[in-house]
Symmetry: C2
Subunit: 450 residues, 2 copies
């Protein structure tokens, strides 16, 4: 030994049984994204810096892992959107539009290390990219995908909050505040924290908004209620801004198709306080909250944008997409004890302990089980019986099979279910049947418990 | 547009339908590795340089992507073995041994760019790590895993070649050549290229091997035949070196359990010319060749090693593992037209084309299909009919559903199978049935065609 082994801070490295839970989550995401017609994509983690940083500047640039190798100025991707923008521009002629892709991959941001913040983390993104145009139905479909994803994972108490940037920008334009709309939105964003009085003061004193306009903003932002109620209240503003009217129509369309898309009313809310950043999004915006863990912030966010690849092509490529910060979500779920530790996370379903010198019968038995789709580990180490059973306990394997001379002679299999301690002596077929039935019913609940 | 989009040379970036084939391969690997009791692992791509390069020096060091970020000296992993060595040493107390893990992940080597060489590429590794000891049965199981993996992928004409380093080292020790065994093996490795006469000359002239010994080496290395014949021929050398005898026993054990592990004789060969690097491996070594594409070299290699984590811990952790260079394999299979392009690589199974103003019936239909597990894309763009059908062709979607007023009124679904052109007007249940049966039989052959 000459170096102390360690893993860099800000880099998640899971123990085996936790990793299996993470894999289950990823597998569910792939399954649901596929159901909605998204195709998997895999882009490089390293890109040329001039390509990755084409947009330039900004807060993120300091966080980027950038370095040279030979003559090349390289950077690690900091999200999956910029690589998608490059991909679509580069392969434009070979793609069919609307292009629907998902990508689950690691991204890198050299943020200041702190608990629950990661420098290497998975994002799970879906995007629909149109060529020139993209129908609003795509925006209406997104809440369904979010709902199905989290429901399938086992989450119950969550709400998808939706707004439309055109509604916001149109409203501010009505008041003649289009120039300051960014600053106003940032101020309004603090509503929950600092209260309406303080917001009004900032609007008037710092942003020179008239008292009348400040009151109008506060009134607008306080529109609450069921989706129908919010949409009805917004109707009162119709006819004063083309942009607002368009946004309201879009919001109406998104809400209209919800039930046809299978999204229950209680998991969805039109919420005028959701603004979602400032420059990028131009239409529907989404945030998703765990209702009993609002402190976590949004666990799935995104929205509609007008021009994905403007830095790489003159083609106009509008899109809509959402992203899950998977590593952080996993970390939080684990912290909250919401991961289902009762799931079968063992490396194998059956552990075979041979009790004979010649291992051929044990090997043959393992092969038969594997051919039947059962995950088998053959344990052939020379250890005491107790050490072998400790191994079974530690790995969490649900069934242990003991194969000695007697069992071989009688063509029976002695199989112990570890949870109940129940041991049976049955034929291969009956044992297989018992194991299969057991695996179906045990340890296969949802990954997330709520 | 201000930057020309490009992907770095040496970095694979697949088009959607190729990516689906790649995903199928990865999914098969995960499935087979799981059947043999391996648990998935995911370690960071970035490690501290002092940790990753603990072994130091060597040819690889020049190829490593190494850089600083803040005060940290960082490197991208160049294989999955060193991170495993770190992981096992770091988490030793929390793991159960033998520890069986698989990892499919990207690794980085800044090699000179050339066709078919990649700087970012996937490795798919499995390893079994013992604590202090590791039974030979684990080495005997490896050919079964290789066989099942490639068979399931669709490969037919391949052979797993196996040798044992103790046999080689023991044999050279018999001749008093243990000091030069590395040089001798490297020379013998050239046998196929330069012929036995030239090998003999090099052995005698450059390595000062006596003529008698050179002849003995050539005789030994020329032992060929069935596994039984080779093992019998090796028996003639027994009793002169303890190491050799041990290696021969191990080779015999590996061969003995082959059929019980389900490996056909023709897919396996004991081959004394396989040496597999020089320092690392200490027992059984494996290489795998596509019989009609020997020029590619081994597509799956590995072996037994005595001490995985010697740089990180004083614990002795022997292991056995194999690795598939997945990105290169995929590249080669594609070049050789061996990828099954008839598989269903479309983003969806069904494309729904709504023909009505109100999309609710189309959305509801999409939801019903998705709830039944069918991958559906709802195509809602305002395009001419021909453009919509072109989209169906380009994405390769197997079924298209037209949903107009008539169909909605009559509660029938008009569904066209794209391959045959056959169009049916059936109820939802019958359409679902037709689609399901169709998907089962079409486009689901193995990923690799041979």
């Amino acid at each position: 030994m000459n170096v102390q082994p360690r893993t860099l801070s800000g880099f998640m490295e899971l123990l085996p049984r936790q990793q299996v839970l993470m894999e289950s989550i990823m597998s569910t995401l792939r399954e649901i994204y596929s159901l909605y017609g998204f195709t998997p994509l895999d882009t490089p983690i390293i890109e040329a810096s001039e390509v990755l940083l084409a947009k330039g500047g900004g807060e993120t640039e300091k966080q980027i892992y950038r370095f040279t190798k030979g003559d090349s100025d390289l950077s690690l991707r900091f999200d999956l959107t910029v690589p998608l923008a490059k991909y679509v521009a580069l392969h434009y002629n070979e793609l069919a539009f609307p292009f629907r892709r998902y990508q689950i991959g690691k991204v890198y941001r050299g943020e200041r290390a702190q608990r629950g913040r990661f420098r290497e983390f998975y994002q799970a993104d879906i995007d629909v990219i149109g060529d020139g145009k993209l129908d609003i139905t795509n925006e209406a479909e997104i809440p369904a995908i979010i709902y199905q994803t989290f429901s399938k994972l086992g989450l119950r108490k969550f709400q998808i909050k939706v707004n439309n940037r055109k509604v916001l920008n149109g409203f501010y334009a009505m008041l003649g505040l289009q120039e300051q709309s960014g600053d106003v939105m940032r101020t309004v964003d603090k509503l929950e924290k600092i209260g309406p009085e303080k917001v009004k003061t900032i609007l008037m004193d710092d942003l020179s908004v008239s008292e009348e306009n400040a009151d109008a903003v506060l009134k607008f932002i306080s529109i609450k209620g069921s989706n129908t109620q919010v949409l009805e209240a917004l109707e009162a503003y119709r006819g004063k801004s083309e942009l607002f009217d368009q946004g309201l129509d879009e919001l109406g369309t998104v809400a209209k198709y919800l039930s046809a898309f299978g999204v229950p009313e209680e998991n969805f809310a039109v919420d005028l306080t959701i603004a979602r950043g400032l420059d990028y999004y131009t239409g529907t915006v989404y945030e998703t909250f765990m209702l009993e863990h609002l402190e976590i912030g949004s666990i799935c966010s995104g929205g509609r944008y007008d021009n994905l690849s403007e830095y790489y092509t003159d083609k106009i490529l509008p899109g809509v997409g959402i992203s899950i910060g998977l590593t952080r979500l996993f970390y939080v779920l684990n912290e909250q004890n919401m991961l289902n530790q009762n799931r079968n996370t063992a490396p194998a379903d059956v552990l075979i302990l041979p009790m004979t010198e010649d291992l051929s019968p044990a090997v043959e038995l393992a092969t038969r089980f594997r051919n039947a789709g059962i995950r088998v580990q053959l344990y052939s180490e020379q250890k005491k019986f107790k050490a072998k059973m400790n191994y079974a306990d530690k790995t969490g394997v649900p069934y242990v099979i003991f194969l000695g001379e007697d069992e071989i002679k009688d063509s029976v299999i002695s199989c112990k279910e570890m949870a109940s301690g129940e041991q049976t002596n049955l034929s291969f077929e009956d044992t297989l049947d018992r194991v299969r039935k057991g695996l179906e019913t045990k340890g296969n609940g949802a990954v997330i418990l709520e």
